[in-house]
């Protein structure tokens, strides 16, 4: 089963990237995340007139990394529909959630590596003392946060069986995360309802935990945040599992799987 999963994941990745040369692939995966990260950190630096940019480097490197999970998973069925392959996936006995996860496995792995590299480079540019923290723990935070965001991505993928407006849904969700997960704006300064919303989103606890690595040594609080992020992810996975079964049956009733 694991062999089949990795083979499918590799074929998906190969199918999506075969058109790029090595140089193009490297630039796309390294340079683009780095430039985006730099843009948001500079925006924060001038908006908040801050000298210590650690918080924004950490938060935005997380956001970039997690966006890959969110978008690749969320668009999983949509791209298959456009290329006429959705019918093959639906009619095949393969679990539909697994089919979408296979599509996202390698992009997620690559994004962990590239954004981690981007984090190191931007830390050097913006004088973030990354060498003072435990990078392994930082990696754990990234992975758990990606797990949580993957749950949300899968839930959105289920929606894509019933609608063809996934660009609207994914872009809206992207900005919801940007605003409410604490990467760019302090949650403490938001209204109470926004605070509640932020606690229901993936990433919020992950970003807080990552920042904690720089600001304080509190293993219990750190573990609590990581556990909380994991639970949020597990809840989204469960919701996605239920939603995808409902969405498939609804799509078959409504004839929304393809353009009939």
């Amino acid at each position: 089963m694991l062999r089949r999963f990795s083979h499918q994941a590799w074929l998906n990745f190969k199918g999506a990237n075969a058109a790029f040369s090595f140089e193009e692939f490297t630039l796309l995966r390294l340079l683009y995340p780095l430039v985006t990260l730099t843009f948001y950190v500079l925006l924060a630096a001038y908006s908040f007139n801050a000298e210590n940019l650690t918080h924004w480097v950490v938060g935005n490197s997380f956001l970039l990394c997690v966006n890959v999970s969110l978008f690749t998973l969320g668009q999983g069925f949509d791209s298959e529909r456009i290329d006429g392959r959705l019918r093959s996936i639906i009619v095949a006995p393969e679990n539909k959630l697994v089919a979408v996860l296979q599509k996202a496995a390698f992009p997620m792995l690559v994004s962990v590596i590239t954004v981690f590299a981007g984090f190191i480079v931007s830390s050097l540019i913006f004088s973030v003392p990354f060498y003072e923290i435990n990078l392994w723990l930082f990696m754990v935070v990234v992975i758990v946060s990606m797990f949580a965001a993957s749950g949300l991505g899968l839930l959105l993928a289920a929606l894509s069986l019933m609608t063809d407006s996934m660009h609207l849904i994914l872009n809206t969700m992207n900005y919801v995360l940007m605003i409410f997960c604490g990467a760019n704006f302090p949650i403490a300064q938001m209204p109470a309802w926004a605070g509640v919303l932020s606690q229901a989103l993936p990433l919020t606890r992950g970003i807080e935990a990552a920042n904690m690595l720089f600001t304080q040594n509190n293993p219990a609080a750190f573990a609590g945040l990581i556990f909380g992020e994991f639970v949020i992810g597990a809840i989204f996975f469960l919701l996605a599992f239920l939603a995808i079964k409902y969405a498939e049956r609804t799509a078959i009733r409504r004839a929304s799987l393809e353009l009939f």
Binding site: H7, K14, G15, I89, V91, A92, E94, A255, F260
Partner: protein, 252 residues
């Protein structure tokens, strides 16, 4: 009977307008019934929009009937799709449906994995399918370089990766050159020889005449005639003539 369709009806509902929403319902298939015997080729012929593709999509579990029942291998296509899916496959006409940036071999490996075919079985089956559709020499080339006919032949091979008991073919020869179309007909005959059941829609009457054991003519969502090709034809008449007589009469 391996396929049983009873009073099958399918409608599509759309909504128009922003302020006052108008509901529009189109009936694609309007209460058709037929049965297909195991190991035979059943042809469903009709004009564009007659309801052929809707029928096929319902039988392969992609659509739910609005009313009536559709059974494949004894299972209800909507409520028991899980039992049907591993045992059937389909070939749709056109160039969509494969990964353009994968080779033919990789494409077939991908679709074999979707059907949980064990690697050793898949390997032999992929080689067999590539050979059957004449793509062995081009198996490791990216599909984006393939011609329309080659893509269509790959679609045929894709439909065989799980060794289906029933193969549903919706206009599979669309875009194929004469040699490609002949090859497909030969493949379908080979499959029938192996005891497979095939349901075929096509606009090419000679093809239906050559392949089908039974033909149903569908028009406006209803079956207007159903019999063996020879019984549908009058003396000296081609299937084309019979089609014009039976469907054209209604159209006129």
């Amino acid at each position: 009977m391996i396929i049983e369709v009873n009073e099958f009806k399918r409608t599509y509902t759309t909504y128009k307008g922003w302020v006052s929403r108008k509901k529009e319902t189109v009936t694609a298939v309007n209460g058709i019934s037929f049965a297909v015997e195991k190991g035979t080729i059943f042809g469903l012929l009709g004009q564009n929009g007659a309801g052929k593709t809707t029928t096929i999509k319902t039988l392969i579990t992609l659509l739910a009937p609005t009313s009536g029942t559709c059974k494949v291998l004894g299972y209800d296509t909507f409520r028991q799709a899980k039992q049907i899916r591993p045992r059937i496959n389909f070939i749709f006409g056109g160039e969509l449906g494969v990964y353009r940036r994968l080779s033919a071999r990789d494409n077939l490996a991908y679709f074999s994995n979707l059907y949980h075919v064990p690697p050793s079985v898949a390997k032999a089956r992929i080689e067999d399918a590539l050979d059957l559709v004449g793509l062995t020499d081009k198996a490791d080339i990216l599909c984006e370089t393939f011609s329309k006919g080659m893509l269509q032949r790959l679609q045929i091979a894709r439909g065989l990766v799980n060794d289906p008991e029933i193969l549903f073919c919706d206009e599979p020869t669309v875009g194929l050159d004469p040699l490609g179309a002949r090859m497909l007909r030969d493949v379908l005959k080979v499959l029938r020889g192996r005891g497979k059941t095939i349901m075929l829609t096509t606009h090419y009457m000679p093809e239906a005449d050559e392949l089908c054991d039974t033909i149903a003519l569908i028009d406006g969502g209803v079956i207007v005639a159903m019999d063996t090709p020879s019984m549908l034809k009058n003396d000296g008449e081609s299937l084309d003539d019979a089609y014009v007589r039976l469907v054209g009469k209604k159209e006129g």
